[in-house]
Symmetry: C2
Subunit: 324 residues, 2 copies
């Protein structure tokens, strides 16, 4: 069985696949410098393709029976381009890293450890409550609201609960969840949720229906002390509206991990937005790293290895998002 | 009944006491500029003293029946100086703030949000895992070990658990705790705990027996990837040994909130240590702010008000640490 690894994310799993399967599989990597006809030959021999996406610009893969995404988002997948008879599966496992990132964001906002460290290292006791300082806010008693309540929303909820926070959520299909939020609504109740949130975490899939789901009107429904955290996809939040809301303090600020433009290998000078978010002191910005922990690839490739073995044995695949 | 507020911490509660009791009490504040004889007259009339400590250098308080500490630490209390017939009570309520601070410290260390923000704001995509970066560590699966398992240790444990961390603890008197640590030992088993910890949180009371409990030998029992977090009292950790262990990377680093020297009002030029901890890039340092949240004083003065009412009614006092 030939496993094709396409793109830098997929290629990160080469060692894990080799360690597991040894010479029971053929492992083919699409290299950055490969000529188009070599890439085409590699796709032509693939039984399994591991790739974050598949589009009409990619070579045919007539033998492929499984397109395994080493990630969850389907935004780089063109379902119409998927080879006939090829199942598509995604995987998760990033919710641990993203859950930790979101809590880091909330605590960065309230505890302000890095800023206090910098001031105290300069010999300044200003933050000492014994002398001068005010009191910082607590997470306890505050409300975190998640737009989407999938793996990420629930990972945030489990952690936020331990801090004594209330958890509110909207989701496309409200049902019994573990952990259950304190308040749960349909996505059509988003307007009801926003005014009551201290922190709004955007973590739903990007689809035609969710593009720009947080727009200027909805940012205006948040309180001026509320913080937006986007760990979903950049375009879930309207770019112009988010910049204006942060700049004009319509909201207190934002922690943004997902963007409107991305650097790629060899093209590293791409700004993440057409707006200068970097000039705003109430914005924390990171380059889409929230889920990327040292536990991620081992967990994801354990799922991928399991799916390859299921395919080989004719057993049902896990996390199938598109029929084969 | 006359309530005397002594020191800046106690004075912060003046408004809360006034709001609750109105003119049912006499509220007396010792002001920074008060002459010694005025201070002495104020102490002489006090039925209740609210003060973080009491020593032989303080005026007699013959009428005092309750010395109420607006904090938990007994290190500023000289039991031999307490007026005859005066009960001493302390209070807690800082475990929420300190628990949040400790988790902020763990996440600051692993997620590195502030550093990633600074790099990305300069236009640098280095931290993007899609391009160049390695993977950051997770808290999930790691071990946090607390030296002491009182209110603070348990607040850390409850939060760390939600992150999938293991919790180890030593305490003077091991017993059934909620939450129960995954491993619990007596304080004499500290040496067994240290080698297995990713994070060591020092949060026991400072006494003659615990002064320097973390010394050079015990820092050497920690792994080189482990981080020490001190939210107890500075002298629980040997000052010279901690500086050397951080400088020489015997341990990965430290997050230090409690110190060996303190600035006071009018004397703000006091260094926190005789060593230049501020010169070490693997040390995060804050000026004893971990517990100081906006929820602290309302919760503490609710306890203090309750104790004043208990004293007035002749009911048993709460959190009594010294007989009256």
């Amino acid at each position: 069985m030939n496993i094709l690894l396409h793109g830098p994310v997929a290629r990160r799993g080469a060692g894990l696949l080799r360690d597991h399967f040894g010479d029971r599989i053929g492992l083919i990597e699409v290299e950055d410098g490969d000529a188009p006809d070599l890439v085409a030959r590699k796709f032509a021999t693939a039984d399994v393709i591991v790739s974050v996406g598949y589009g009409k610009d990619m070579p045919p893969a007539p033998k492929a029976r499984l397109l395994q995404l080493p990630n969850s988002g389907l935004d780089d997948l063109d379902p119409g381009a998927v080879p006939a008879g090829c199942a598509v599966c995604n995987c998760f496992e990033h919710e641990i890293g993203i859950g930790e990132y979101v809590m880091a964001a909330l605590l960065h906002w309230t505890v302000g450890l890095a800023a206090a460290d910098a001031r105290f290292k300069s010999g300044d006791w200003t933050d000492s409550p014994r002398l001068f300082a005010g009191f910082r806010p607590e997470l306890a008693g505050k409300t975190v609201a998640t737009v989407g309540y999938g793996n990420i929303g629930r990972a945030v909820a489990a952690r936020a609960r331990a801090f004594g926070m209330a958890v509110h959520a909207v989701t496309r299909r409200p049902r019994d969840f573990e952990p259950a939020p304190d308040w749960l609504g349909g996505i059509d109740q988003l307007d009801d949720m926003l005014p009551n949130a201290d922190f709004v975490v955007v973590c739903c899939p990007l689809t035609a229906a969710t593009t720009g789901i947080i727009d200027a009107r909805r940012l205006g429904l948040m309180t001026t002390s509320a913080v937006l955290i986007n760990v979903g996809r950049g375009p879930l939040v309207d770019e112009d509206a988010l910049f204006a809301a942060c700049r004009d303090r319509v909201i207190a600020g934002a922690v943004i991990d997902v963007w409107y433009g991305y650097a790629t290998v060899g093209n590293e000078d791409v700004p993440p937005s057409r707006h200068p978010f970097h000039s705003l002191d109430n914005v924390v910005m990171t380059p889409h790293l929230s889920g990327w922990t040292d536990g991620l690839m081992p967990r994801r490739f354990a799922v991928i290895i399991d799916n390859i073995e299921r395919l080989a044995d004719g057993r049902p695949l896990r996390h199938q998002v598109h029929p084969g």
